[in-house]
């Protein structure tokens, strides 16, 4: 095993070009466990800790350019207004210690369906900025996840940042685990209201081979809100709409049975979380949102 320690982004890209099998390591949350438990022996480890720009973020007019290694703690503390869904998701990541080092780059690189950030990224809408010595490109989040623990990165590419749409409306995030802290998702749900475009986007984690959006649920809800004039009237969402949305969200899930939960439970829980988070975001949009302590 070789340990590559690039001092700059350019050096990192060069190293990845030279050693396409190199495994990037930043927060170490996934990679070090695989090494400690002898599940993986990469030929090269590519340390990204010395690349300072990966830990920076820029708030632009419409988007936040979030460095791949910005720790979840920083997202929780500094980006609650711009990225409320991701801030909530960040708060559910593992433990304080892990949130101090881990960032969205790791979730995206591993592309496990259980990664906590995915549903929030899908719901907020974003593009993943990846780069290689060949150049840089932006991959829409909807095209990023290509299979179980697979993503759209080429072998020589590294994740530089994520360009996330700044929230133009309320966002929520829920995750079911069988413990009240430090737990991997049994399943998770993210939702973002986008009043500017009068759309709602969603994300589902751990309930399909990849993180997914609940497309049919979104379509239904977008149409129902439009037809009912809800965006303008800001009236309360009728229970039948919430119910149908929840059913469609549950229907979008394509989960498996595993040690963390049954497929049947996951589908059920996605529906419950969809209904609740829709209610929370919509009430907030209506101006009745209450703060929730302990939430990022």
């Amino acid at each position: 095993m070789d340990f590559l320690r690039p001092a700059s982004w350019e050096e990192a890209l060069a190293a990845k070009a030279e050693h396409p099998t190199a495994v990037p390591i930043a927060g170490g949350t996934d990679v070090m466990v695989e090494i400690n438990f002898d599940h993986r022996r990469p030929e090269y480890l590519l340390d990204l800790n010395r690349v300072g720009e990966l830990r920076e973020w820029e708030v632009g007019a419409d988007t936040v350019r979030l460095g791949a290694s910005v720790p979840y703690t920083q997202i929780m503390e500094n980006l609650r207004t711009e990225l409320p869904g991701l801030a909530l998701a960040s708060h559910t990541v593992a433990s304080p210690q892990i949130r101090n080092r881990g960032g969205v780059g790791g979730n995206l690189g591993t592309a496990s369906p259980a990664g906590d950030a995915h549903p929030a990224l899908l719901a907020a809408d974003c593009e993943v900025e990846v780069e290689s010595v060949r150049g840089s490109r932006l991959i829409p989040i909807d095209a990023f996840y290509t299979g179980v623990k697979r993503n759209a990165l080429a072998a020589d590419e590294l994740i530089r940042s994520v360009h996330i749409k700044k929230a133009d409306g309320p966002q929520q995030y829920s995750k079911v685990g069988t413990r009240n802290a430090m737990v991997i998702a049994v399943c998770a749900f993210g939702i973002a209201l986008h009043p500017e475009t009068r759309t709602v986007r969603t994300g589902i984690g751990s309930a399909a081979p990849t993180p997914i959006r609940a497309a049919a649920a979104e379509e239904f809800l977008n149409a129902a809100l439009e037809e009912g004039g809800f965006w303008d009237s800001r009236k309360i969402i009728t229970p039948s709409i919430a119910k149908q949305f929840a059913q469609l969200a549950a229907g979008a899930a394509n989960p498996i049975d595993d040690v963390r939960g049954t497929a049947s439970y996951r589908r059920h829980a996605v529906g419950i979380m969809a209904r609740r988070t829709l209610t929370w975001t919509w009430e907030s949009y209506r101006g009745n949102g209450r703060t929730t302590e302990g939430v990022a």
């Binding site: 829920s174 685990g177 069988t178 802290a181 829980a269 609740r276």
Partner: protein, 797 residues
């Protein structure tokens, strides 16, 4: 070899002359400072110049014939010093075991469970050892699996152990049953006719892991005399020694064991793990060998709590008096016996719980299967039974339309009650009282998570995961009570040994206490010093490290150490005191008649009469002499249970705890938040009240864990463990653990030292059924298994 430095060798713990604290005081731990500064050396912290790292290769299948093992490629690796298999074992004896010697040091011919040790490697770096182990080629031919009672006892079932010749085979109905203990008293069939109401239930208890945080580890250092010095974390040094020496082919005196720092135990260190393996590698290579399991391996490195199926029938008259009980308890012992026979004895003899039932028909068995071996864990057979009989009590109360606590109190045992074994409970048994205490405690306020600013998710089911802001949340309250035996039962010669010395050092009388008691976190070292202060009137006490240079202390298990080794320390102190007084009489007896006539005690460094008159200073009595006594001490003998009727005075003491659980359940998502878990327990006498609370709160939390999250999941198709990690075997975090108010009763047991009662296990019993009862109360669901998972609460299992 012996001259190079070993780091982490335990040293004496001394609490200096400013330390106060005899029995009954909350004296602080003598190892506290070492533990908060990181200087306390645990078994995994041991280090020796030039040491090698040992690695265990374990079976990847549960039941298979070993067709061939090829170690040549592994041995050829640079940095590898030894590769050992069964063929390399040096002695005639190649097996070990706590009760039956049925466990191979390394697999021979076949493997019987997933993760069984097959080969060992010693190398100069753990990674070198791992890579070499990966190069050992083993060809398996898989065999049919035995995974439950049906497959174990089916006609033509594969035998997990062929040719058994142990003492239990004579009375078990099938060779795949380790031990069977029936208990018959009265006439259950006849008594059942008097029942107005009968409830039946089939209950399932999942496989719980001790999940101690300090992994199995230690260091074996070969010695110049051909023996070995072994530093390990264990619960019982002498039991280890008896199992280690024969397979090494060494006399016991050439295997010198010292207790390293122990990172928790809870029963999981009763059995041998890496001890023999490290010694074998050290003796083969002539170098010190360290073995440290990682968490993955730890799940295969020790036995777990027996999962169980329990079938219960209770009857009662219309006014709630229990008429009879029938039960059948099937414990899955896995591939090797470990402590299964004793667990069966406990499960059967305590299967009625703390209730008066004259007519019972009880059977408990432990199976041999190809599942992971199961053995000791805190509560030891009584835990599984308590989960079931307490569920039955609630079911019965519901059917009778009675308050569940009143039903329990109506049938509660008390001093003088006969157990189903025919044994009289001859010390206080305040079962009704501890139930009253938890019930009379005010309930925590509702909706504590709510404030004017919104919901605090940290106080709601789901916690930080933000799953509810109050939606679907329903409160429930549940009660349970349990009975646990203290000490080793069924005729076992249960004793401990203490060596106590008294001498003057720097002008001050000092006591030194040397036992082989394993300090596993429980605070035995604190209590020993307190006993010495009380009995010998000194302030400064030194605790000698535990090792095999002193007689056996028995195990740090069965809630027994304060009773038995505490009793041994007290006894040796008394013998030392007699000698000191004798010395005093010789020196000063002529100066004061009270030396001969009065009751004398040692107090504040002086010899004092019962009237309070000071006769002399210990410093003057002792001068430069030291008085030392090493003596064994025993509690009252017990006797075995009759193999057909289960009758016999099998137990020495009992421990009772009751819990009230208050939970909030997100009924839509099936997530549970325990709000409060109040406990009342009789401890006889609290030798160290602070430690008593720590034991009760810790035990309570382990019970909470197995109620809602903890379970080792074994795939029934492959008998392989599916979740050997802390990612998927979950234990409670601080956000899962509620406040645990404790009500301590001190009703002395006149048979025990200071009237004390063993305390460590009882709270683990009643905590689980109390939480389950509260969840049932919140959801209206029947819930016949533990742990209860979200899918069980949402109909999506």
């Amino acid at each position: 070899m012996g001259s190079t430095r070993t780091t982490g060798v335990p040293t004496k713990l001394t609490q200096g002359s400013q330390t106060k604290g005899g029995i009954g005081e909350s004296t602080l731990r003598p190892d506290g400072t070492l533990k908060v500064t990181g200087e306390f050396a645990y078994s995994s912290d041991m280090w020796h110049e030039d040491m090698l790292w040992g690695q265990t290769l374990r079976s990847t299948v549960a039941h298979a014939e070993i067709v061939s093992i090829d170690t040549s490629e592994a041995l050829a690796q640079s940095g590898v010093y030894a590769v050992l298999t069964y063929d390399d074992l040096p002695a005639e004896m190649k097996k070990y075991g706590l009760e039956l010697q049925d466990t191979p040091v390394l697999a021979h011919g076949k493997v019987r469970h997933h993760g069984e040790p097959v080969a060992l490697v010693a190398a100069d770096h753990p990674e070198t050892a791992r890579r070499a182990a990966a190069k050992i080629k083993i060809e398996y031919r898989e065999l049919p699996l035995v995974t439950d009672e049906a497959s174990a006892t089916a006609p033509g079932a594969v035998l997990v152990h062929e040719g058994r010749d142990d003492e239990y085979i004579k009375h078990v109905p099938h060779p795949n049953i380790v031990h069977r203990q029936p208990i018959i008293r009265g006439d259950a069939d006849e008594a059942a006719k008097k029942a107005d109401v009968v409830v039946r239930g089939e209950y399932t208890f999942g496989m719980q892991d001790q999940a101690f945080l300090g992994p199995e580890s230690g260091l074996a250092v070969p010695a110049e005399d051909g023996g070995v010095d072994l530093y390990v974390a264990t619960q019982w040094l002498h039991s280890d020694l008896e199992q280690i020496a024969p397979v090494l082919g060494l006399p016991e005196e050439k295997v010198r064991m010292t207790l390293s720092g122990v990172g928790g135990a809870f029963g999981g260190r009763e059995d041998i793990s890496m001890q023999i393996h490290a010694c074998l590698l050290a003796l083969r290579t002539g170098k010190p060998v360290k073995i440290v399991y990682n968490r993955f391996e730890s799940f295969f490195g020790h036995v777990h709590r027996h999962p169980a199926k329990l079938y219960y029938e209770h009857g009662a008259t219309r006014d709630g008096k229990l008429t009879h009980m029938r039960c059948r308890i099937v414990l899955d012992g896995g591939a090797y016996a470990s402590a299964s026979p004793a667990v069966v004895g406990n499960a059967s003899s305590l299967s009625v719980g703390p209730y008066v039932i004259d007519d019972v028909d009880i059977e408990a068995i432990a199976l041999y299967t190809n599942n992971p071996p199961c053995g000791a864990m805190r509560g030891f057979g009584a835990v599984q039974a308590c989960f079931a009989y307490e569920a039955q009590m609630d079911k019965l109360a519901a059917k009778l339309g009675m308050d569940p606590v009143e039903l329990r109190q109506l049938n509660a045992m008390e001093q003088g009650t006969l157990l189903p074994t025919g044994q009289v409970v001859d010390s206080p048994a305040p079962v009704a009282e501890i139930l009253r205490r938890v019930k009379s405690r005010p309930l925590p306020p509702e909706r504590q998570w709510e404030s004017s600013e919104g919901a605090d998710v940290r106080q709601l089911p789901g916690g930080l995961s933000n799953t509810t802001h109050g939606e679907g949340v329903v409160r429930g309250v549940g009660y349970a009570v349990g009975i646990k035996n203290v000490g080793f039962s069924e005729g076992f010669d249960d004793y401990s040994t203490a060596k106590v010395r008294m001498e003057v050092i720097n002008g001050e009388p000092v006591a030194t206490v040397h036992t082989a008691m394993a300090e596993v976190g429980q605070g035995g070292v604190t209590v020993h010093a307190q006993i010495a202060r009380t009995e010998l009137g000194v302030t400064q006490v030194t605790i000698h490290p535990a090792d095999t240079q002193v007689g056996s202390a028995g195990s740090s298990s069965a809630s027994r150490q304060t009773y038995v080794t505490g009793g041994a320390v007290k006894n040796s102190c008394e013998l030392v005191r007699e000698k000191v007084l004798e010395l005093g009489r010789r020196k000063f007896g002529t100066y004061h008649p009270a030396w001969a006539t009065a009751e004398l005690r040692l107090e504040g460094g002086k010899v004092v009469t019962d009237g309070g008159e000071v006769l002399g200073d210990l410093v003057d009595v002792l001068e430069d002499e030291s008085v030392e006594v090493e003596a064994e001490w025993r509690h009252r003998p017990t006797e075995p249970f009759d193999l057909r009727t289960g009758q016999g005075n099998g137990h020495v003491q009992y421990s009772f705890a009751a819990h009230r659980a208050v939970v909030e359940v997100d009924t839509e998502l099936g997530l549970v938040k325990v709000i409060e878990l109040a406990c009342a327990q009789d401890v006889g006498k609290a030798l160290n009240p602070l430690s008593v609370l720590g034991q009760i709160q810790g035990g309570t939390t382990q019970g909470l864990g197995v109620a809602v999250m903890e379970e080792i999941i074994v795939d029934p198709k492959t008998a392989k463990v599916k979740n050997p990690s802390f990612t998927d075997y979950l234990i409670p975090t601080i956000l899962d653990t509620p406040t645990i108010p404790v009500d301590v009763l001190e009703l002395a047991d006149e048979h025990a030292p200071y009237g004390l009662r063993g305390i460590g296990e009882a709270p683990t019993l009643s905590s689980t059924p109390a939480v389950l009862a509260a969840i049932r109360n919140a959801t209206g669901l029947e819930l016949n298994r533990t742990p209860v998972r979200p899918e069980h609460l949402t109909g999506t299992a």
